[in-house]
Symmetry: C2
Subunit: 392 residues, 2 copies
């Protein structure tokens, strides 16, 4: 293909990227300026302030890493984990496993605390693990497991970690902007997220925030951070501190326009209003899914609003359904990952995708497609959702 | 700033980001699709093919890293350098020093071969270093030093490295698309570049290419690659090989639209034509600088066409000139880096910025601004450039 590429207009209701706000796409294409331009430095400061707002933190070290969420994860681990450090990782899905990879590659010792996929992390198991492993200095877990749709009680988990004098690293990729998250109040020392989930932004950037305790740990490292690109002391030289900024790497300038616009959108809506919108739209989707007879795999009080893992009915061909949704409706929903592959669909209601129109399209498309594929399911998903909407 | 950010229209003639093609900006804002969408997989294949074209390589492992050039550099080093490996690095500017950082953090032993900043790397010194250090397994150098405007003879340097059975890692950030570069013919085993220089694209992505010999070295590693995000065996699972692509990270989808469009532009122009355009425009700029009396610091046969390091006349205030160019002409030129800070300006003629209009603007703006700042310089830069253009 040596001609220009014109993508179709999709409706993105998978695990991310999710629908991007038209305002964000428009901002993305504004004229590029230099990464050391005084006006770009002002934009950087504004991005930091807005990220503090959405993270609910006063942390000075709050900034976007110039790469996707996986790089944000790696930033937290390679800076905070030194060779020989013991890290307790609570795993209840795919991304806890990736945390383990990061700890091991940083020379740390990973102690895994396993929970069933589709369930929240168990505070009791964490407490037991910390009691049995007093040398532990860091606790890590995923707040909103994108692979299962389960939400863990980050506040309680961090409080336990603090009883054992541990730093906390929390994956907030799918929670930031989509459900309650309070970095400072919950005692989270390091968190990373992504732009392509509940922020309505394009994929490619990873907001992070680190507490003063986390910075102290970095400043007192006995070994050099193994990554030059992700070394926070170097990145801080560019992102933090007065008028003089030291060149580290060339920032993805246009992606920063997009991130800034997406944060302005959250600020305009109000963070708590955004959380509530995600929750209400989840209930509306749930009403429709109930009517069709599709079940969520996560127990009610552990469910994420923004990522709904739906059990695939017996005998239904996972891939055929997803392909038909894409072909007939230009609608993308997500497949299962890891041990849930072929067993669930993941329906995202994230950011700009968390809208009434999307819910109704998804319910109508799913119901019709499942029937076309010969599945025995119920009817009236759209009507049930509409009834729920009218009653809101 | 909680309002939308509207950047000014700059003319970007620094060391990058350089002017972005309007077609690339337009492509950037096209609707986001999923990173596993069948159409996105097709786009990925097309990007790989076009990158093979601009790199002049048959390497199967030719793909864009989802992060800036510094991450492309780190990808090459953390995958190819194992703890204890000896790497000879030829340094003639800032970026050779960054290579050293990468080698050391990967546990390798860096042997530095120093050349004067502003000069090409010396083949004789490299040969001597390899004779004195027979345990060396990798040679690394910068093809086009963005910090000084010097171009090294990559073909000769790689041939020497091959005599000593070494792999070669070459920084082609500023050369790709802007001056002659032949990965296969020159025996380059690993190269990385950036999108924001001679490709007329936005910053944020790093094209890389690795030879089969480089892949063999990776496959025979005794230790795990220290970075999960930059582990090429994992990245290959997503970017290379048939219909089945394994999820690794969420690709920056819109940035890939932009990269693709920028590569289509090079293909339309013809790679050799693009090299020649950069060279001819360099000569035109040079004719104008000669008239004003501004000197380039790099000897003629070692000069980069796309990055011109101009000696700042004695007594002239570096920062004041650059600030006035920005304020009065919305024109950005680059400051000196490292030991050249305050001593040179770096005038980029890269990609979409390598145009007649930019040369004339830059000459007129520089001449007028320098006179306003009280410098004693010549006149007629624009006329000399126009005369050169008419004679072309």
């Amino acid at each position: 293909m040596t001609r220009s590429f014109y993508p179709p207009q999709r409706t993105l209701m998978g695990p991310g990227p999710s629908d991007v706000s038209p305002r964000v796409l428009e901002a993305l294409a504004r004229p590029t300026i230099g990464h050391l331009d005084p006006l770009f430095i002002e934009l950087m400061d504004s991005i930091k302030t807005l990220l503090q707002y959405v993270f609910k933190t006063q942390n000075a070290l709050t900034l976007p890493i110039s790469a996707p969420g996986s790089a944000g994860m790696e930033t937290c681990f390679v800076n905070l984990v030194e060779p020989g450090d013991t890290v307790v990782i609570c795993q209840n899905g795919v991304f806890g496993g990736r945390m383990r990879e990061n700890v091991v590659r940083a020379g740390g010792i990973a102690i895994m605390v396993e929970d069933e996929w589709g369930r929240a992390v168990s505070p009791e198991k964490l407490e037991e693990a910390l009691r049995n492993n007093p040398e532990t200095s860091i606790v890590a877990f995923v707040h909103a497991e994108t692979s299962t749709g389960a939400q863990s009680d980050a506040k309680t988990l961090c409080a336990i970690a603090k009883q054992f004098d541990c730093l906390t690293i929390v994956d907030t990729v799918t929670s930031l902007g989509g459900s309650m998250l309070e970095i400072d109040n919950w005692q989270i020392d390091a968190a990373y997220s992504g732009t392509q989930k509940c922020l309505s932004c394009v994929p490619g950037i990873s907001p992070i925030t680190l507490s003063t305790a986390a910075i102290d740990k970095i400043k007192n490292r006995k070994t050099q951070v193994q990554s030059w690109f992700l070394d926070l002391e170097l990145i801080m030289g560019y992102w933090i501190g007065g008028g003089k900024r030291a060149y580290h790497h060339t920032a993805p300038v246009n992606a920063m326009y997009a991130l800034h616009e997406s944060l302005v959108l959250v600020k305009e809506e109000g963070l708590e209003n955004a959380w509530n919108r995600h929750y209400q739209n989840h209930l509306t989707l749930k009403a429709g899914l109930d009517a069709i007879g599709l079940d969520l795999i996560v127990p009610e009080n552990e469910r994420l609003a923004q990522l709904n893992a739906v059990k695939i009915p017996d005998g239904v061909n996972d891939l055929a359904v997803r392909q038909q949704l894409l072909a007939d409706y230009s609608l993308e929903i997500g497949a299962g990952l890891g041990s849930l592959a072929g067993k669930v669909w993941r329906i995202g209601l994230m950011g700009h995708a968390s809208r009434k129109e999307n819910i109704l399209l998804c319910l109508a498309a799913l119901e019709s497609t499942l029937k076309h594929q010969g599945a025995t399911i119920g009817s009236g998903g759209v009507e049930a959702a509409m009834a729920h909407l009218r009653a809101r």
